[in-house]
C-alpha cells in the first residue's frame, strides 16, 4: 500500500480540486483521507455518506471542583497560559486558553483540580460516489491538536486500506508548514505539490519543499493557473529542476474548474481536456511508487 499526499504550502492553489479528481480516477483502488481538517472541503466533491461518526478526544482540560477550592491561587501562578483567573468570587478556567498541561492539578494543595479528557472533533468514515472509502473529520471550533486529528484520520484510512487490500491512500493535506502538514507527511511515499505562479505561491512552495527535503520523500509538482504569470511559471520550473522535483504538468486558469465545483463535481467528471491530462498524471505518479 502506498500513500500519496497532496500539498501546496499556499492555500487556494487548487489542491483539493486536484486531489478529488485523482480520487475519482483511482476509484475503488484507493482509500481517501481529507487531512485538511481545519477547512475540509473534499466532501463537497466526493459526496460521502457520513456513514460512521467517531468522536475524537485529544488533550485535556483543567476542571475545578469549587467545593474543594480554597482560592489560594497557586494554580493561577503556575499557569503559563493565563487560563485560570479569579472572577465571580471563584477560580475559573478559560477553556480556550487551557493547553491541558496539568501543572495546576499538580500544584493544587487541596486536589480541587482534575484534568478531564477533551472532545476536539469528529472523524467520519464514508462511502464516496467514486466507490471508495473516505476518512474525513471536523475539528470543533477553535480546538487544538489538529496535528493529532490528522494522524487519526490517516491511521483510520491506512487500516481501511489494509483491511480492504487497497493499493493507495490518497491524502489531501493542509496548507502551511506546521504540525498538520508534518503529521500528514509522516509515512508518505510520494508528495504531489500543487502550486500557482504567484510570488506568494513560489515563496510558500520553497518553504514546503524545505520541509519535504527533511523527510526525503519523492515529489512531483503541478503548476496550476500557469498562464497567470508566465515569467513566474518559468521561475518555478527552474526551482523544481534544482530541487529535483519532477514537474508533471501545467494547467491554465480555467473557469471550468469552478463551474464543475459549483455542481459538486470534479473536473474529470465534466467535458474538458483535463480528464486525459490528470489520467496521465495519475499513471505517472503510480509508476513512481515503490512496488
Amino acid at each position: 500500500m502506498n500513500e500519496i499526499v497532496i500539498l501546496s504550502g499556499k492555500g487556494g492553489t487548487g489542491k483539493t480540486s486536484i486531489t478529488a479528481s485523482l480520487a475519482v480516477l483511482a476509484g475503488n483502488d484507493a482509500v481517501i483521507a481529507d487531512c485538511d481538517v481545519d477547512a475540509a472541503n473534499m466532501h463537497l466533491l466526493l459526496n460521502p455518506d457520513f456513514g460512521t461518526t467517531i468522536e475524537f478526544f485529544s488533550g485535556e482540560l483543567a476542571v475545578i471542583n469549587q467545593k474543594q477550592c480554597t482560592r489560594c491561587r497557586k494554580c493561577e501562578d503556575a499557569c503559563r497560559f493565563n487560563a485560570i483567573g479569579y472572577a465571580d468570587k471563584k477560580m475559573q478556567v478559560i477553556p480556550i486558553d487551557c493547553e491541558g498541561c496539568g501543572y495546576c492539578e499538580i500544584v493544587c494543595p487541596t486536589r480541587a483540580i482534575t484534568m478531564s479528557e477533551r472532545k476536539s472533533g469528529n472523524v467520519f468514515i464514508s462511502n464516496t460516489k467514486a466507490g471508495s472509502k473516505m476518512v474525513h473529520a471536523r475539528l470543533d471550533i477553535g480546538a487544538e491538536n489538529s496535528g493529532k486529528l490528522v494522524a487519526r484520520v490517516k491511521n483510520e484510512a491506512r487500516s481501511l486500506a489494509v483491511a480492504g487490500n487497497k493499493a493507495f491512500v490518497i491524502i489531501d493535506g493542509a496548507p502551511g508548514i506546521g504540525c498538520p502538514v508534518v503529521s500528514s507527511l509522516a509515512g508518505a511515499n510520494y508528495v504531489l505539490l500543487v502550486t500557482e505562479p504567484t510570488m506568494s505561491g513560489l515563496h510558500d512552495l520553497k518553504r514546503i519543499c524545505a520541509v519535504i527535503r527533511k523527510f526525503r520523500i519523492k515529489a512531483g509538482c503541478i503548476i496550476n493557473k500557469w498562464d497567470l504569470n508566465e515569467k513566474k511559471t518559468t521561475e518555478i520550473k527552474q526551482f523544481l529542476q534544482n530541487e529535483q522535483i519532477e514537474q508533471l504538468t501545467d494547467i491554465p486558469y480555467d473557469i471550468r474548474f469552478t463551474n464543475a465545483m459549483t455542481k459538486g463535481k470534479t473536473i474529470v467528471e465534466v467535458p474538458s481536456p483535463y480528464r486525459q491530462i490528470l489520467h496521465r498524471i495519475w499513471n505517472e505518479i503510480k509508476s513512481q511508487l515503490p512496488k
Partner: protein, 287 residues
C-alpha cells in the same frame, strides 16, 4: 486605544493577503497604520509592502534543557509532561523541542533543578516602515511545528511597541483552529474574506461559527465576485452578516497579485471596495 481589524478566512487562497496589504496601504495614505502578518507558517505580506527594514528580532520560546550532572533520574519530568516532549530513555532524558508547550511544569517541579528553561529560537519578527505604514511580520522557523506561541508573541510585541498607532490590521492564518483563534481574539472587528463557490461557502460557515463563539463582530468581503454562484450572498443575508464589499473577478487583479504588486491604484473596483470597507469601519466603530 488602537482599532484592530483581523482579516481572516476559513479557506486559504481567498484573497486575505490581497485585502490586508491593499487595505493597509490605502488607509495609511491618511492615517498612521500598522499591518501585522500573523500567517507565520507562510507569511506573504512582505512581498507586497516594499518598506525599509527597520529591524529584525529573534523570537524565542522557553524549552527545558537537561542538566545531566544534577539529574537523579527520578522520572518526575517525564511523568509530568502531557505532550511527550520529555522522555526518559534509560539513563538519558530526551527533550523534544517541537512538542514542548513551554508550560514549565517539568522544570519547576524537578526536585534536582536538572531541567532549567532555556531560550530556543522559534522564529523571527521583522519590522518595516513605508510612509505612514508600519509593517511587522513573523515567520516560523522551518521544522518548528507550533504556530500559536509565535502568533501570541507577535501580538504582545505589537501591543507593547506600537500601541500608539491608531489603525491596525492583522492578516491571520487560514483555517478555524487554534492559530486563528490566537490571531483574532484581540480584534475589534473580523473581516472574513471568501469566494462565491461551494468551498468558499463551506469554510465561511466554519469561520463565522468560530468568530461567533469568540463573540467577535464579523463583516464579509466577497472576492472573485462573478464566479461560482450566489449561495455565499444568500447565506450572508440569512445570517444577517454585513457584506462590506465585493471585489469582482478580474484577471488583471490576479496578474498584478502574481507579480507581487498592490493593485488598488490601478484597479478601480478594488479601490472602491477599500473605500466601502473604510467607511463601514468609520460608521460603525468610529475608531
Amino acid at each position: 486605544m488602537p482599532f484592530k481589524i483581523a482579516i481572516a478566512s476559513g479557506k486559504g487562497g481567498t484573497g486575505k493577503t490581497l485585502l490586508a496589504t491593499n487595505l493597509a496601504d490605502y488607509i495609511s495614505q491618511g492615517v498612521d497604520t500598522l499591518l501585522v502578518d500573523l500567517d507565520v507558517e507562510e507569511p506573504n505580506d512582505f512581498i507586497f509592502i516594499e518598506g525599509t527594514n527597520v529591524n529584525s528580532v529573534d523570537q524565542v520560546k522557553m524549552i527545558p534543557s537537561w542538566n545531566e550532572r544534577q539529574c537523579t533520574l527520578c522520572g518526575n519530568c517525564a511523568r509530568t509532561c502531557k505532550y511527550n516532549a520529555v522522555i526518559q530513555l534509560g539513563t538519558f532524558i530526551a527533550v523534544f523541542n517541537e512538542l514542548c508547550h513551554s508550560c514549565y511544569a517539568c522544570s519547576e517541579l524537578c526536585p534536582a533543578n536538572a531541567l532549567p528553561m532555556k531560550a530556543f529560537k522559534m522564529g523571527e519578527t521583522r519590522t518595516f516602515s513605508k510612509g505612514r505604514l508600519t509593517f511587522i511580520e513573523s515567520r516560523l522557523e522551518i521544522g518548528e511545528e507550533q504556530a500559536v506561541p509565535l502568533i501570541r508573541k507577535t501580538i504582545i510585541m505589537a501591543d507593547e511597541i506600537f500601541h500608539s498607532i491608531p489603525f491596525q490590521i492583522y492578516d491571520c492564518p487560514p483555517g478555524t483552529s487554534c492559530p486563528v483563534v490566537a490571531a483574532t481574539r484581540h480584534a475589534d472587528l473580523v473581516i472574513l474574506v471568501t469566494e462565491p463557490t461551494p468551498f468558499g461557502l463551506n469554510d465561511l460557515k466554519l469561520a463565522v461559527e468560530t468568530m461567533q463563539d469568540l463573540g467577535k463582530p464579523v463583516g464579509v468581503v466577497i472576492n472573485r465576485d462573478g464566479i461560482g454562484n450566489s449561495e455565499v450572498e444568500d447565506f450572508c443575508t440569512r445570517e444577517q452578516l454585513p457584506v462590506l464589499a465585493k471585489i469582482p473577478f478580474d484577471r488583471e487583479i490576479a496578474q498584478r497579485y502574481s507579480k507581487g504588486e498592490l493593485v488598488y491604484n490601478e484597479v478601480t473596483n478594488v479601490k472602491n471596495a477599500l473605500r466601502k470597507i473604510a467607511s463601514f469601519v468609520e460608521k460603525h466603530f468610529n475608531p
